[in-house]
Amino acid sequence: MNREPMSRELETSVHNCHPASVPDYTSLDELRALQLERLKAVVERSWNHVQLFRERMEERNLTPESIRSLDDLARLPFTVKSDLRDTYPFGLFASPMKDVVRLHASSGTTGKPIVVAYTQEDVDVWTSVLVRCLAGCGLHRGDIVQIAYGYGLFTGGLGAHYGAESLGATVVPASGGHADRQIMLIKDFGATAMCCTPTYFLHLIERAGEMGIDMKQLPLRAGVFGAEPWTESMRQYIEKMSGIEAFDIYGLSEIIGPGVGCECRRHEGLHIFEDRFYPEIVDPESGEPVADGEPGELVLTTLSKQAMPMIRYRTRDITRILTGRCACGRTLRRIDRIGRRSDDMLIIRGVNVFPSQVETALLDVEGTLPHYQILLTRDRGLDQMEVQVEVTPEMFEDKIGSLQELNRRLQAALDRMLGIRVRVALVEAHSIERSEGKAKRVIDRRMQ
């Protein structure tokens, strides 16, 4: 083995950090000045190229010249997820297609996905923030990083891939699924770090145990886990069972993908790469900014995105800005790990799912909307989604084959709509509990 020794040294300052991490330590004065300069530029860019943004600015009698300080950001209109749907597919692009080098897509709230675009410069920025994430997790050249996020339209796989490669690590692009093969690769290739969803890693721990492999005996030493909310107790469990250090990484396609923020080795919140993504916390009801330290909805502005700038994007993720400087020496502000969302979006095996998508799929099959309920459970670390559908007289045919066919059609429609495997259970009319006449749509037993 010709590999550098694995460092457990903390990256403690700009003097011994990875070159890509230098902006993490910018002085606050310089950082704020840079942010203002970039904010002015991105507002100008959106004003010039994105019709929806310009209209909303004009409604408020604002122009790019209205931005004189970072505080002026709060005067700008929000962007919300449905804006991406309403302008599907390319309505929010600020670059001509000839300058767009990549498209990704993720689930929208109904049938159509939302599309995000990158120029080469955007891809380079994305890669650079991923390098900063991974370097902050103590990874470097010589590490073997296995990426088990899905490769494809989902931003997770390719985002982590280019970051790890640019860091100088050896990348194993395993993509999602095939747990036994993942474990074989970790073992045979000597992977030292894993990028995947935390629940998928739980599943791998479990599967490895069944295969008689003790993860603690493997070279694996770090896990960079994201794409879904997870808890501190899950971290403790993962670290105890596998002997690795587990990091929380945050991101969303609308902003760039993974790499908006990440924990450092202090594990005291996630640093936001705020020279690229400016964070605000607002009251989810009123939209008014709240003070640092107060919980609210995270709102992000992309400060340097070219192809698809997002001004004040409502993430629906509830968190707070942690006050005070992190002991790691980074000047970047930190957010608390995401615990919950202000909308009804579910994250299942890293995939965004909205109950409204389930409704759309059921309507497509039946023409009417039966009572239904989404039941989420966790089986050996893997999220399971069951959609229980009440059988109405209109749907009911006196043949087992017809019911099985109905089951298949519902399942196929849901699989198509959600992009994940769903189990459909036909249940008796009135068997789904209703409170005040309204069925509770989601029962989430995953954390139990």
Binding site: V391, T392, P393, F396, E397, D398, K399, I400, L403, Q404, A425, L426, V427, E428, A429, H430, S431
Partner: protein, 142 residues
């Protein structure tokens, strides 16, 4: 000649067949024949009830998912070969059976077969042409 049958959707769980049956009993409705088809998840309870209209309404009002379907009732001799005769006749006519269940008629040494066909009229004609006794509702409930 077609007979009304009540089909009821039930989950394959403890007590889920008992509930509709108890409801019918409480209304004095007599189940003359009954057949349960099941999968791991759910099943269909099929019943021939004397007063099918009242039974269907009672079950619907009770919140059950029911469907009234038309089946064909045939009387055969309750001896070896009784069923085979009927099936041979249907086979000769090229008719498919969707499902079938049987129950004995005590005292008279006869058995009743309940068939569901995709084309019940054709099946009735076929059976009658073969000299098989297709029962009307009144005869079935006699």
């Amino acid at each position: 000649m077609k007979i009304k049958q009540i089909s009821l959707f039930a989950e394959n769980k403890r007590g889920h067949v008992a509930a509709p049956v108890k409801l019918l009993a409480s209304q004095g409705l007599d189940i003359r024949a009954l057949f349960l088809a099941e999968t791991e998840q759910y099943g269909i309870l099929r019943m021939i009830v004397t007063d099918w209209e009242r039974a269907a309404k009672t079950l619907e009002d009770g919140g059950f998912t029911v469907k009234v379907t038309e089946v064909v009732a045939v009387e055969v001799s309750d001896h070896p070969g009784g069923l085979a005769t009927v099936l041979s006749a249907l086979d000769a006519c090229g008719l498919n059976i969707e499902y079938l269940y049987a129950f004995p008629r005590f005292r008279v040494d006869r058995a009743i077969l309940i068939f569901r066909f995709a084309a019940p009229e054709a099946a009735i004609a076929c059976l009658q042409a073969a000299g098989i006794n297709v029962l009307a509702s009144e005869e079935l409930f006699r």
